[in-house]
């Protein structure tokens, strides 16, 4: 309970005056839901759509509302204490909401895991034994294309590298959108090996070391 404000229903008449620092008649909730009172300072429901700032001399009528910041007043007004029953119900609802959210996140993670596993299988099927070995141990595999060595590292963006004398000299960013990582790597391999000029035309190249 705040001084001057209680939540016990009381009569609010057309002559009711509510001031900023003290509320006579002590019935904020009933004022909030009621519509037919002329109030100074605070009028909530009847002026719900108003967006003006509340001032100390604001007068609000039931049929027209101006200079009311309903949300600000409502949020500032003390609320009745929550009953034990209501608090337990709210906590149970929160618990159920959290469980549902956790379950949806678990499903999303599982679908992503299965997608990557499937994509990994498709990729590995197209690799040589040496490429399979480096992919499993070092998360990349190398290609020999037209006498040049390219390295496809596990990833989707900027993961293709040009290798000169064992040194990464450039990176290439190119990928079909919306695919699991290993699908992207396979698509990069297929295009690079089948059509290097097209690969180089599309990719964004970044020099790493000249």
């Amino acid at each position: 309970m705040v001084a001057g404000i209680t939540w016990v229903p009381a009569t609010v008449t057309t002559a009711t005056t509510l001031t900023n620092s003290s509320i006579t008649t002590d019935n904020v909730w009933r004022v909030w839901s009621d519509q037919c009172y002329q109030l100074t300072q605070q009028a909530t429901w009847c002026s719900w759509t108003s967006t003006s700032v509340l001032t100390n001399s604001t007068t609000v009528f039931s049929q027209s509302a101006f200079d009311c910041d309903v949300w600000r007043v409502w949020a500032a007004a003390p609320r009745p204490p929550e009953s034990t029953e209501a608090r337990l119900l709210r906590r149970e609802q929160d618990r159920i909401s959290q469980l549902r959210f956790d379950e949806s996140q678990r499903k999303i993670a599982e679908e992503a895991r299965l997608s990557r596993a499937r994509a990994e299988k498709l990729l590995v099927r197209q690799l040589s034994p040496a490429q399979k070995d480096t992919l499993s141990r070092l998360n990349y595999f190398d290609l020999d294309v037209g006498g040049k060595t390219y390295r496809i590292k596990r990833g989707t963006h900027g993961n293709v590298r040009e290798i000169v004398n064992g040194i990464e000299t450039a990176s290439f960013c190119i990928q079909p959108p919306g695919l699991p990582t290993e699908d992207v790597m396979l698509a990069q391999k297929l295009l690079l090996e089948a059509n290097e000029p097209e690969f180089l035309r599309i990719a964004n190249r970044t020099v790493l070391r000249s």
């Binding site: 679908e111 299965l114 997608s115 990557r116 596993a117 499937r118 994509a119 299988k121 498709l122 099927r125 197209q126 690799l127 040589s128 034994p129 490429q131 989707t156 963006h157 900027g158 960013c173 190119i174 990928q175 079909p176 959108p177 919306g178 695919l179 699991p180 699908d183 396979l186 698509a187 990069q188 297929l190 295009l191 090996e193 089948a194 059509n195 690969f199 599309i202 990719a203 964004n204």
Partner: protein, 88 residues
């Protein structure tokens, strides 16, 4: 009457396949190269994806590079298709 290609997780021996990359990894379709209806359905699938600018590659599963396919080849035993690349 056109038929739908059979969607599979693992291609049966003797069957040909198209693996279409997508957000869930890939979708594999198989067809019997000795069945004209299934071959026609596979061609239809291939052509419709190519019309959407999918890249297509004829592949072998021995680590050798794939070959780009611009048009349908009924002799291709294993095909992989993906959406077009974009520069990142």
């Amino acid at each position: 009457m056109s038929i739908a290609l059979k969607q599979v997780d693992e291609v049966e021996p003797g069957m040909h396949e198209i693996a279409v990359m997508n957000g869930s990894g890939d979708t594999k379709y198989q067809w019997n190269p000795a069945n004209p209806d299934e071959v026609a359905a596979a061609k239809s699938t291939f052509d419709s994806l190519r019309a959407k600018h999918y890249d297509a590659y004829r592949v072998t599963h021995d680590g050798k590079p794939g070959e780009q396919m611009k048009t349908w080849d009924p002799g291709a035993g294993s095909i992989i298709m993906n959406t077009q690349h974009q520069g990142g």
